[in-house]
Symmetry: D2
Subunit: 95 residues, 4 copies
Amino acid sequence: MTRLSDKERRDLLNRLARIEGQVRGIARMVEQDEYCNDILTQISAVTRALDRVALEVLDGHVHGCVREAMVAGGKEAEAKTNELLEAVERFARMR
Amino acid sequence: MTRLSDKERRDLLNRLARIEGQVRGIARMVEQDEYCNDILTQISAVTRALDRVALEVLDGHVHGCVREAMVAGGKEAEAKTNELLEAVERFARMR
Amino acid sequence: MTRLSDKERRDLLNRLARIEGQVRGIARMVEQDEYCNDILTQISAVTRALDRVALEVLDGHVHGCVREAMVAGGKEAEAKTNELLEAVERFARMR
Amino acid sequence: MTRLSDKERRDLLNRLARIEGQVRGIARMVEQDEYCNDILTQISAVTRALDRVALEVLDGHVHGCVREAMVAGGKEAEAKTNELLEAVERFARMR
């Protein structure tokens, strides 16, 4: 099963490390009693960064596992397709 | 290329007719100066109904066109995969 | 209680009439078996248009009812504030 | 200007510490080449946790700064109202 390439994995890990730092930064803003609206803006930036990471993971997944399962066909293809649609529901905040 | 079955098409058309009626209902609420929060609740119900219609369309699309393109492979598979990822971005309100 | 001005009401009704037409257009696309991805793009345009209408309604609501309730204070202020936060949850697809 | 109570601040900091740990957990999943769909589910859990933190911050903000500004009236009330509506747009991924 095709997984992430080394370059993609490193890129994702870099982004996640940055996001972790941003979350720590938000905690610091809360501790220092910074202005609520600035905290909200920062949380929204992190949420979007996470959405982009998720899209990146999905991209690799569709090009790899999902495509292979569809080419192979059968039950696995159906299972991967359903999983994919559930992932879309989560992206759309429908589940 | 596999498209919607007759049953799926009828089901989608029923939902869309209901949504059209709901939008008209919201207009009536605005005309009659109903309470803002009730209007907001109603708009949110329609937005979700539309998200469910979109998910239904995507479901048929992935089981049909996308799968066939992936099985066939080549440029068309790549094009359909990219389109799919753009659709996910729209579901996630990222584009 | 301050409600929508005539101009705002007319503007909202125009937008809702346009949205109703767009929903009818989507139904036509489904009937004519148009390409799924084009249907998805169109649904996404309508969802966003509805989000903008909702934001417009919320804007009037916050400048009107919510502000008045807050100035008056007491139970009504608390009730309006809670309603407002629930509306935000719906905007964020959290409820 | 009313800010967060001590209890609210501690609660937010606890949640943010948990979220930071979850982000680190996602990085570990990526490193260990875990199944993409499991990573996506985990990212989605963090996004929702962040949305709940944001809603909590907004709750304190509306009960505090926004209410006070509205009671005081004038330019500051208008500025806070506009900021609030922009925050809602971010919650709805409209900006």
